[in-house]
């Protein structure tokens, strides 16, 4: 059985035993997913690549603390999320983020179709993408995770470290706020 047949959690166990091939497999599986996620989160490609690199280094450093009974994808997204938030705080480029990210998302829409195609659910999704950056940070995070990354409530709860019920409430509020913003701009 090759590494590509192993589950993430099984690969994590291999990485704990200092198996770099398993680490390479994990990087291969997650580098693009995390890259697009972080770009959406922080709105800067260069910074996003740095954040993703740092994420994998953190994964390597802290892999012994990972509980194999939990979901690896939620754990790695959590690390990427935290580093992304730190990056936003560091660069304080929140206002610039909006325009840049929108341009980037539109320019790369076709190229990145394999990753974001599933998130493209008609007109609403398109409009959502444009207005999403007008929302406050926590609402934006949850919309990105739910619609773009297609994470479940449970996974969102594990990534953002909020109760599942709160994830539901935030998502509802985020949708309502987004609707308000859209109506206002019409």
């Amino acid at each position: 059985m090759g590494y590509q047949d192993l589950k993430d959690e099984e690969l994590a166990k291999e990485i704990k035993a200092k198996n770099n091939q398993a680490l390479a497999e994990i990087i291969g599986r997650y580098q693009n997913k995390l890259f697009y996620y972080v770009v959406r989160l922080i709105g800067n490609e260069e910074d996003a690549e740095d954040v993703v690199q740092e994420t994998f280094l953190k994964v390597y450093e802290n892999i012994q603390g990972f509980d194999e009974n939990r979901k690896f994808s939620s754990w790695i997204y959590r690390i990427a999320h935290n580093l992304g938030i730190n990056q936003i705080k560091k660069s304080q480029r929140l206002s610039a983020v909006e325009a840049h990210t929108l341009d980037w998302l539109e320019d790369r829409q076709e190229e990145a179709e394999d990753v974001i195609a599933q998130a493209e659910r008609g007109q609403l999704m398109q409009e959502m993408k444009e207005k999403i950056f007008a929302l406050r940070e926590d609402y934006r995070d949850i919309l990105i995770l739910y619609y773009f990354e297609e994470k479940s409530y449970e996974e969102i709860s594990d990534i953002l470290h909020i109760p599942e019920s709160t994830a539901g409430v935030w998502l509802r509020r985020a949708r309502t706020n987004l609707k308000k913003i859209m109506l206002k701009q019409e």
């Binding site: 580098q31 690549e49 012994q64 990145a112 709860s157």
Partner: protein, 260 residues
């Protein structure tokens, strides 16, 4: 490093970095040690919190602060004056710290902080009630262990100094016109020092407190247990603001039951 499809491939870069920059895995024991430290800190804070809260409940109980209820604003004033704010503040701070530590645990985010506050409050109440029901504080007080800890002991000892001169709880020994004689109930069973207990009970039997009823229109009888609030005059007598009968005289009770 992006290719034509705007995808990145940083695998080699990361593996190289790990080697060249000598990035090491944090050892497992460090994670375990952190977890143990956090868990034991949480348990310790919970135990101290429970003890502090139970001490607050015990202080309330031995000083019978609930007796002040029913005496209106003056009664509330007495409660506020004698309330152990520092114990209350310590209990609240410990509770908040406990919730903070719970939120730090890797499962702490599963429930909202309000739920953890609620759960911690319930645990503190139930455990403190448990400590009171097994008379843990009485035992601690009698074992004199508390003497080694003046911070705790002052709450045990405060009762002996009679926290307020404005309230008396006891049995009526005589009623004459506007004067009552009361044998004070000092809850002697709980007094730690046996010598003090003996002298205290003896003194009150020999010299029952004299009380001026003034305008009180209550019909009081010998043998009834009453709670009295008032102000001590220069002659040492208590001018009564309010009287509440805690326990009726046995014969009265029997009469009432017959009437029913």
């Amino acid at each position: 490093m992006k290719d034509k499809t705007n995808k990145i491939d940083i695998t080699a870069e990361i593996l190289k970095k790990i080697e060249t920059e000598n990035i090491r895995m944090r050892p497992l024991w460090k994670f375990k040690a952190e977890k143990i430290a956090l868990e034991s800190g949480m348990v310790a804070i919970a135990l101290v919190g429970i003890f502090t809260f139970s001490l607050l409940m015990y202080y309330w109980k031995i000083n019978e602060l609930n007796h002040y209820f029913g005496f209106g604003l003056r009664g509330m004033g007495e409660i506020l004056e004698n309330f152990p704010y520092e114990l209350f503040a310590a209990s609240v701070l410990l509770l908040l710290f406990l919730v903070y530590l719970i939120k730090k645990m890797d499962w702490g985010y599963k429930k909202p902080w309000q739920a953890w506050v609620g759960a911690s409050l319930v645990i503190m109440f139930v455990s403190s009630g448990g400590l009171l029901s097994v008379k843990a504080h009485e035992q601690l007080e009698q074992s004199r262990v508390a003497n080694d800890y003046p911070v705790i002991n002052k709450y045990y000892q405060k009762r002996l100094r009679n926290i307020s001169n404005n309230v008396l709880v006891g049995e009526i020994s005589s009623v004459k016109n506007d004067e009552l004689a009361i044998i004070e109930n000092k809850n002697n069973k709980n007094i730690a020092n046996k010598d003090e207990q003996a002298s205290s009970s003896k003194a009150h039997k020999l010299n029952p407190n004299k009380i001026r009823i003034n305008s009180q229109k209550k019909k009081l009888e010998v043998g009834e247990e009453v709670k009295i609030m008032g102000k001590k005059g220069k002659d040492g007598k208590l001018d009564v603001w309010g009287i509440k009968v805690i326990k009726q005289k046995k014969q009265n009770k029997a009469k009432e039951e017959k009437r029913k």
